[in-house]
Symmetry: C2
Subunit: 373 residues, 2 copies
């Protein structure tokens, strides 16, 4: 294999495929990229066994020659090392040549690197066969499904299925649900009514995939019982699924409430941020005290003291209510809604409450309160 390639396009491809590579892996193949120069261009594959990314650096892009002076072939090279070498080279073009199947010689006009490499035949077989009936969504819809829910997934593997986002297509809606069992986030977008499936995709994987969408408008998705494949631009991402039934019914969101608070999102976030400054543990508890005269956000710590702030731009409907919650849960939920105002709807002091954007009913955030002291 031999080629001369535009440095920035090469680096871009390496960085995309690099999203699949961790710092450690018991299988050394999963710390390597497979580089394969074919008639289409340079194909870069990276995998950690759970997520696999394939991306193509094409020979020609927007009428500009990206790859020249090429001789087809393939190799495996340490992903981290080649990415850092290419990143640090200063030339506009980089040349790469495999010597005796064991040395990848990389140079620009100034510096020369000889990287240890091995035969591409050592690489595990990767199957990018479409997984099921493919459907197409806008990148914006997929990004919203993920960014408005992923933060609510469990971040430790005490219950692996809760580390997933459940994607469920039914009745013309694709709904993403994530929960760590103390809170739940749900977002829906419209899809073809014929679409019907339910899969559990690791939330961290999805959050990572949507960062790769830049420059693309739409993404093709296909899923079966084992895997889900995202295809956009010249990139394919395949992720394993988490098996099992997702333990949340579609009717978990309460529908009837007695208390309603509409408030400016930034003011609520600012007040929670300020009063939780006194918290001495990692999950500050903040209390909302509401009646028809005033709404206060407060927090108390035996060790450091107490803080209270009155909200001004509010509209409250209901009897007097005090409700305490994990400050981070409400902060992340309000941020995820991304709206100017938010509506909090309550049933009672110890019942889960929901937070919504009053102008968008496609997303709902459900939070279990904490016991007030």
């Amino acid at each position: 294999m031999r080629f001369t390639i535009d440095k920035n396009q090469f680096l871009k491809g390496l960085l995309i495929a690099g999203h699949s590579i961790g710092n450690k892996n018991p299988n050394p193949m999963y710390l390597c990229f497979k580089l394969e120069l074919t008639a289409r261009g340079l194909e870069i594959t990276g995998s950690n066994g759970d997520i696999t990314i394939w991306t193509l650096v094409p020979n020609v892009l927007n009428d500009k020659e990206i790859i020249r002076n090429s001789s087809l072939g393939s190799t495996l090279v340490n992903a981290h090392v080649i990415t850092e070498v290419v990143r640090k080279l200063e030339g506009e073009e980089v040349s790469m040549e495999i010597i005796d199947n064991v040395i990848a010689k990389i140079d620009d006009s100034k510096a020369t690197f000889k990287l240890n490499c091995i035969s591409a035949e050592e690489y595990p077989h990767i199957d990018f066969e479409k997984a099921g009936n493919p459907f197409v969504l806008s990148c914006g819809d997929v990004s919203a499904l993920v960014s408005q829910t992923a933060f609510a997934a469990l971040d430790k593997d005490t219950r692996p299925i809760l580390m997933a986002i459940n994607l469920r297509a039914e009745g013309g809606k694709l709904t993403a649900t994530a929960t760590d069992s103390a809170r739940l986030s749900r977002k829906s977008v419209a899809v073809d009514p014929s679409l019907r499936f339910s899969v559990n995709v690791p939330a961290k994987t999805l959050a990572d995939i949507v960062t790769l969408f830049e420059g693309n408008d739409s993404v093709e998705i296909s899923a079966n019982a084992e895997k889900i494949i995202f295809s956009f631009g010249t990139t394919l991402v395949s992720s394993r699924l988490i098996s099992g039934e997702y333990p949340v019914s579609s009717s978990i969101i309460p529908q009837n409430f007695s208390f309603f608070l509409e408030v400016n999102a930034q003011q609520l976030l600012g007040a929670i941020d300020r009063v939780s400054v006194l918290a001495t543990d990692h999950a500050p508890v903040v209390k909302l005290s509401m009646d028809d005269e005033q709404v206060e956000v407060s927090s108390t710590s035996d060790q450091t003291g107490s803080g209270v702030e009155r909200l001004t731009t509010i509209q409250y409907t209901g009897e007097r209510l005090e409700i305490a919650f994990n400050a981070m849960f409400v902060t992340q939920a309000v941020r995820a809604l991304g709206s100017e105002d938010v509506v909090l709807s309550f049933i009672g002091e110890m019942k889960p409450f929901v937070i919504r954007n009053p102008k968008d009913d496609s997303v709902v955030e459900l939070i279990t309160p904490m016991r007030t002291r």
Copy 2:
């Protein structure tokens, strides 16, 4: 104690004094600020036992009233908590009032905090008596003494005295020396010829102090056998010294060399950075190979491969020489010189070499080479 204070000036004072406060300290007093409202203004004192900072927020600054509505007094309050509370308040003014000696009530127009506090009498006695004959230096000179040497001090306490910068006044020069025994940095500035002392100040403390100089032109320094005091603007910093004889003689820098390389600093740094990308350990070894035809920077790792770069803007005088070194040592030394070109002077393959700015002989960096493989 009661006062209303300009929020930004209050925060500035808290942040200055906060440089003395660590995250943990067996003595809870050392996690507190002493706040004392006197006729001069608000005096804030913080200490961790080794370094103590006192700073004054004056009643009036540049004809602007900073503190008003005041009633003298004092208290002790958790340093981290009050700093974060004041940082997060949004009002231009903050009011503080001590209630029953146990509550510090802090509010702006929107939020109210009640912080636990205790009587200022609990605070350890702090002695800011001048330590010896004071002398005045420009802040720029002190910053240069520190920033051009501190990185070479030992960063672990296997040999505490090497964690210090030695400041030695003699013969009209104040010389800062730092060494971890594998490299040494030395910088001198002119002082009054009558000045004569030698003290060992913790390098980390000095590096921290110089960051507080902003907005000041000169600093008054006084030292005795136990402590050194820096006085600038309305701030005093007192640091304990490390006792013992500094184990480096003034004649440690070799004077006669056989090989000289003059090179553009950025080019040398760039080449070292690029070739050391292949290093798999934390102290990458880089080699300079020099003769009258070419100078190459290279690095080899059994695991990943090798990289080599030829330097172009060079002038080399001497026989062929190969010398290997810790890439970080040379990088930090060249950066500390801050010059366009640097001159490396060598005696031989295994002898310490020096790096200088050809236009400034007040600073010298000495580095012990490593064995080439």
